[in-house]
């Protein structure tokens, strides 16, 4: 009677499942690159949207109002409505899976008249407007542990800054103060 081979040899002779295992191994890499490009597209599209948001916010800041606080609150309100969840949740980003506001400010990422703005220095007076800084990750599936290691925790993220400097109209309060200093009479000038 012929002796049967041990069970382990039977398993080794069979090549079933090899293609499945190879597919599983390569799928991780291919999915990482696929999701990277999808995430990159979302991030670029969001970047264009942020440019529009800062422009709209700068327009609100530019328009005249009773005082500068009112102009600033209007600019902030535009950013909140376009880039944050709602007026009641200014700390939560509208699209957190794509990018989040970063770099301080209220709300996060938002800044009015960034340094070195100075109204009285001509070369720096144009820096009057809105700046928004945001950060997004690139690899949804980290490739070879990118961004998880302690070597460079920011390796898997990109920080972009959108600026719109449209300057600002003097507010009614500032106008009246200026006219009063000149001892002039104002009726409908402010």
């Amino acid at each position: 009677m012929k002796k049967s081979s041990p069970p382990s040899c039977k398993i080794l002779k069979s090549e079933e499942g090899q293609s499945t295992i190879e597919f599983a191994l390569t799928m991780v890499l291919s999915l990482a690159f696929t999701f990277f490009y999808i995430q990159l597209c979302f991030f670029f599209a969001f970047g264009n949207y942020v440019h529009y948001a800062t422009f709209m916010s700068a327009r609100a800041y530019l328009s005249a109002g009773p005082n500068q606080e009112d102009q600033a609150s209007r600019a902030k309100s535009v950013i909140v409505r376009m880039l944050k969840k709602s007026e009641g949740f200014t700390g939560i980003d509208r699209f957190p899976s794509i990018a989040k506001g970063t770099g301080g400010g209220d709300p996060a990422g938002f800044q009015l008249d960034p340094a070195p703005f100075s109204r009285y220095v001509r070369d720096l007076s144009w820096l009057e407007g809105v700046r928004y800084k945001f950060r997004g990750r690139l690899f949804v599936i980290p490739l070879a542990g990118i961004g998880r290691g302690s070597a460079d925790p920011n390796a898997n993220s990109v920080t972009l800054t959108s600026e719109s400097f449209l300057l600002r109209e003097p507010s009614t309060e500032e106008c009246q103060s200026f006219i009063e200093k000149k001892n002039a009479i104002y009726d409908n000038g402010c």
Binding site: C9, I11, R122, D123, A144, G145, V158, L160, T161, F165
Partner: protein, 107 residues
Amino acid sequence: MVKPNRAAQVHKNESGQALTEYLLILSVIVVAYVGMVRVIENSGLQRQLLAPITTSFAAAYQYGHTKGKGYDDGGPENHPRATASRGRGGTGGANNFRIFFNPRVGQ
């Protein structure tokens, strides 16, 4: 009566050899993969691969120039609005350009 050599009987049985070899090869592959990941992380390869996005694109996004620098980045250089004159009391650096032509009063 001759006693059977039990140790020799155990050695003749080759079952499990493939599994042992598989585990050994797997451990070698895992060690090689972990080593490769560490080399990639320590060499900053990912930073170099992503540099076009994190630096050039970021500068183009903010300033409209891939080599643009603002006041926060040690500039301004290749800046669209900074004043070009550094020696005349201006704050601008090299290669700045003006989108909105706005000459000084009296010039």
